[in-house]
Structure formats: structure tokens, C-alpha cells
């Protein structure tokens, strides 16, 4: 027996990094650890499907401390950042968070990230596997007046699920008043923390940036709540797939444009008319004229999952490739995301996906596969 493909084993071939703050804590919880983004990370505790369902019905605690937390500050910050990202910072108010994209000169995606406005600074959360490249890129393209601080002394925890708000409010009075994509500073167990109402599961939930030395105490505190269990990377992947959210390095790469990927919302309105960001020519052309291929959801008949790399056909014609795929624990059927030729990308289009020589019937399906349940205010 051996893995054909093992996403979890993918990692940077860089030198081994120091263990993350919760390394020992995960092991004590019975996690199976795997190399990921240069670190040892928990892939699962009791099992991916159980953890997946738990998050959809209760609340799951995810350690995402491998992600890069960056703080940018200095004279002329907004203009400097707008020269790199297609974001409109004039409409990003204090306490707001927004999705953005790090693009190369041809409009290919170097990373996707979150940008938040703090007093006199911008706080960025970038992907773990790309953070070193992102930091190098930012240092190269940002003027000297801008200071980039890599917050390596901070851990990042995500509490996700329909009971997340109720649980977190027990320890953080006032946190339930945050709405989706807003954040604020709070105190949790006596420690200063930044909490955003956001996540990567499609559920309501929070991302908590906290001092690394408080990570064990806070993880233990939250998991002591009856509604909370620790959740590994395996369920994080199946949850985000059901939510139709892209995974950088698989669904978005330097070979894909954000417009193909359906992330045009990451190119803010003012920037479309004013331009002035990397890859602008291609991005604007694709917004106006469309793209030859689109990133779409597929529901697959039967039980055999189609994984990354599986080819997509319309009759005899090869029309696309799967970029993420697996078995949906919620829907109890295989689902996938794929780039397909735009004339086969309409919802309802009947396609076939090839897995080990077998053609599986697939239907283009609007995403998310499982409805988002973000909290946008009552």
C-alpha cells in the first residue's frame, strides 16, 4: 500500500523550520503530524470525516500558525501597497478585512491573501507555503520607507462552525458583534489578541492572532468547551472544497489569472479604471473580453473521487483539468474544482472526468457546493 498522491506531504524543500508553537500540544491531543509548508502540522486527530462533520455542526479549532502574518507601516503606505496589490485601500476602513491577490507582471497569481486595516498599519495574512517568497517580493517592490514586520512571535488559530460565536463570546465579551470580514483587538485569557470574523470553511467563525507564548493556554481553554474539538488539515481541505474556496498552489498558481479563477472581486472597482498594479493589461482585458477557460465546480456521479490532475472531457474533446477534488462528507459524493473551456463552463454542462482510464459522469455545478453561513449582521 502506498499513497498515489498525498497533498499533505507536499512541502517546501527548504531547511527544516522551528516547530510551530502548538507542535507539542497537537501531539498531546493525539494528532497525526505531517510535513506541510516546511513545518510539522496536524493532518487529523480522530479522523477527517468526523472532524469535518463536527465543524459543520459545532465548532472546530484549527491551528493555522504556518500562515504568514505580516505588518506593514510607514510613510505613503497605501500608495505603496496599491502599486503591488489590485486593492482599493481608500475604501478599506479601520477594522475591515479584504481579500486580495499578489500578482506577477503577467497577471499570474503569486499568492492570495487577506489585508486588514489597523491604526497606522496594514496587517496581511499570507499562505504558509508562499510566505518566504511573498516577503522577498514585498521587500523588493516596497519602497524603503515602508517597514515590513514578519510577526513570527504570533500564532494564528481559527475557530469555525455554527457554535463558534457562542463559545468565543464566553471568553471574549463583545466578539459576537463583529460581522463577516471585520476585526478588532480584544483580550482573551488576559492576552492581547486580534480577532477577525473570517475563515476558510464556509462556516461562521473567527481567526485569532495571538502571542505565540499564549497559544497552548488559549487552545486548551477553547478545547475545554464542550462544543469545540481540534481539527486537522485534512478536514480543513474537505471543508474549503465544499465551500468552493481556492487553495493556493493548486487552484491558483502563477499559471492562472484571478479572472479565470473567478476572483475578479479581488480586483477592486477603482483599480479597474485607474490601473497601476502588476499584470493590469491582461487583467482588464480578461474582465472585458472574458477568458478562454473558467474555474468551475463539478459534481461527480458514483463514489470514486477525481483528484488534482484528472483530465476533463466533453465527448472526445479534452476541455479541462481538475485542480482540487475529493469526497464530500456533507454531500456524500465526489466533488471537484476544475479549469474547463468557457464554452463548457455553464452550470449544468455535462462533462466527463477520467480517473485511471475510467470516464466518470460530471456536471458543472455552481459553488459553493455547501452554502456559506457567514454572519453579516442580524
Amino acid at each position: 500500500m502506498s499513497d498515489q498522491t498525498d497533498h499533505a506531504a507536499e512541502s517546501e524543500d527548504a531547511l527544516p523550520l522551528d516547530p510551530l508553537p502548538l507542535d507539542a500540544w497537537h501531539r498531546a491531543q493525539g494528532a497525526r503530524m505531517v510535513p506541510f509548508a516546511g513545518y510539522d502540522m496536524p493532518i487529523q486527530y480522530e479522523g477527517i470525516v468526523a472532524e469535518h462533520h463536527w465543524t459543520r455542526t459545532n465548532a472546530g479549532l484549527f491551528d493555522v500558525s504556518h500562515m504568514g502574518q505580516l505588518l506593514l507601516s510607514g510613510e505613503g503606505l497605501d500608495a505603496a501597497v496599491e502599486a503591488i496589490l489590485p486593492i482599493d485601500l481608500s475604501t478599506l476602513k479601520l477594522g475591515q478585512q479584504r481579500y486580495s491577490l499578489l500578482l506577477d507582471e503577467t497577471g499570474g497569481v503569486l499568492d492570495d491573501l487577506m489585508v486588514s486595516r489597523l491604526e497606522g498599519a496594514l496587517y496581511l495574512v499570507v499562505n504558509g507555503a508562499t510566505k518566504w517568497d511573498d516577503i522577498a517580493h514585498l521587500r523588493e517592490y516596497l519602497p524603503d520607507e515602508i517597514t515590513l514586520q514578519h510577526m513570527e512571535e504570533h500564532a494564528l488559530l481559527a475557530l469555525q462552525g455554527p457554535k463558534a460565536a457562542e463559545v468565543l463570546a464566553r471568553h471574549v465579551p463583545g466578539v459576537a458583534a463583529l460581522t463577516f470580514m471585520k476585526f478588532a483587538a480584544f483580550t482573551l485569557a488576559g492576552h492581547p489578541v486580534q480577532i477577525a470574523r473570517a475563515g476558510y470553511t464556509g462556516e461562521d467563525g473567527f481567526e485569532i492572532s495571538l502571542p505565540a507564548e499564549a497559544a497552548e493556554e488559549i487552545a486548551t481553554l477553547l478545547c475545554a468547551e464542550a462544543e469545540v474539538k481540534p481539527i486537522g488539515l485534512g478536514a480543513r481541505d474537505s471543508l474549503r472544497l465544499e465551500a468552493g474556496l481556492p487553495l493556493y498552489g493548486h487552484d491558483m498558481t502563477p499559471e492562472t489569472s484571478p479572472i479565470e479563477a473567478g476572483a475578479a472581486f479581488g480586483i477592486n472597482k477603482r483599480r479597474r479604471t485607474e490601473g497601476g498594479f502588476p499584470g493590469v493589461d491582461r487583467i482588464i482585458r480578461e474582465i472585458n473580453e472574458g477568458t478562454a477557460r473558467k474555474w468551475v465546480g463539478l459534481k461527480i456521479e458514483g463514489r470514486l473521487p477525481a483528484r488534482e490532475g484528472a483530465e476533463v472531457f466533453a465527448g472526445g474533446a479534452h476541455v479541462g483539468t481538475v485542480t482540487s477534488g475529493g469526497f464530500s462528507p456533507t454531500l456524500q459524493q465526489p466533488i471537484a474544482m476544475a479549469y474547463v473551456a468557457s464554452d463548457h463552463a455553464a452550470p449544468g454542462s455535462a462533462l466527463e472526468v477520467e480517473v485511471r482510464g475510467k470516464r466518470l459522469a460530471a456536471t458543472v455545478t455552481p459553488t459553493p457546493f455547501v452554502p456559506h453561513r457567514y454572519y453579516r449582521g442580524s
Binding site: Q4, D6, V49
Partner: protein, 123 residues
């Protein structure tokens, strides 16, 4: 009836001239929740150490190798309906396929239960 094990975590039971093949409890625990098992059709010739079946967990697809060479005589139809049998009963109801024993001497290189236990403990 004697049961043998491979270092790829397959087990093989020998009863007369037919052997039954599956994956071990250790293997299923490493794979996690199994959602699909692709089995060889009866009549398929399998070769020792080569792909014979594929197990799909939520996470990944994994190859299962033939512990010895021979011809598949039966695939476990129950796994089609309920692939999770491999998780709940890997070394009994969750068997994969039955096969002929092409060359009995190939069994000699496999581990017995005690040796396999020791092997797993060393991992």
C-alpha cells in the same frame, strides 16, 4: 489457516489453493475514512509487488499491491456498497479479493503475525 503479511501492509490468508487478500488494521488507520475501493475483476492476473487495487480515502488515493502472483478469482462485492467495511473490519469482512496461488514459494518471503507486529511497532 496461515496468515502472512507484507511490509506494504497487506495481509494474505491461504486456504488450500486459494488466498484471500486485504489490508491491515494499521493500514486502514493510516488511510483514514475510506470512501471507495477499486478492485481487480475476476480473471485479472496480478503480479507480486505490483498494483492490484486502489483505495480512496477522503484524503488520497493509495495503491494496494498483490502480496504474491496469481489470478483473481473473486472481488469482495460488499465493498462496493460499503467501502467503510475496510475501516471497521479490515482483517475480516473488509477483505479485498481472492486469488490463486501462482507460486507458493512467494509466501516464504512474507511475515507471520508476530513478525508483522514487530515491524509495525518499529515504524
Amino acid at each position: 489457516m496461515p496468515r502472512y503479511f507484507t511490509d506494504e501492509h497487506e495481509w494474505i490468508d491461504v486456504a488450500g489453493d486459494i488466498a484471500t487478500v486485504g489490508i491491515t488494521d494499521y493500514a486502514q488507520s493510516q488511510l483514514g475514512d475510506i470512501v471507495f475501493v477499486e478492485l481487480p475483476a475476476p480473471g485479472t492476473a496480478v503480479e507480486k509487488g505490483k498494483d492490484a487495487a486502489v483505495v480512496e480515502s477522503v484524503k488520497a488515493a493509495s495503491d494496494v499491491y498483490a502480496p504474491i502472483s496469481g489470478e483473481v478469482t473473486e472481488a469482495n462485492a460488499a465493498l462496493e456498497e460499503d467501502p467503510a467495511l475496510v475501516n471497521t473490519s479490515p482483517e475480516a469482512d473488509g477483505w479485498f479479493f481472492k486469488m490463486t496461488i501462482g507460486d507458493a514459494s512467494e509466501l516464504d518471503g512474507l511475515m507471520d503475525e508476530a513478525a508483522y507486529k514487530e515491524f509495525v511497532a518499529s515504524l
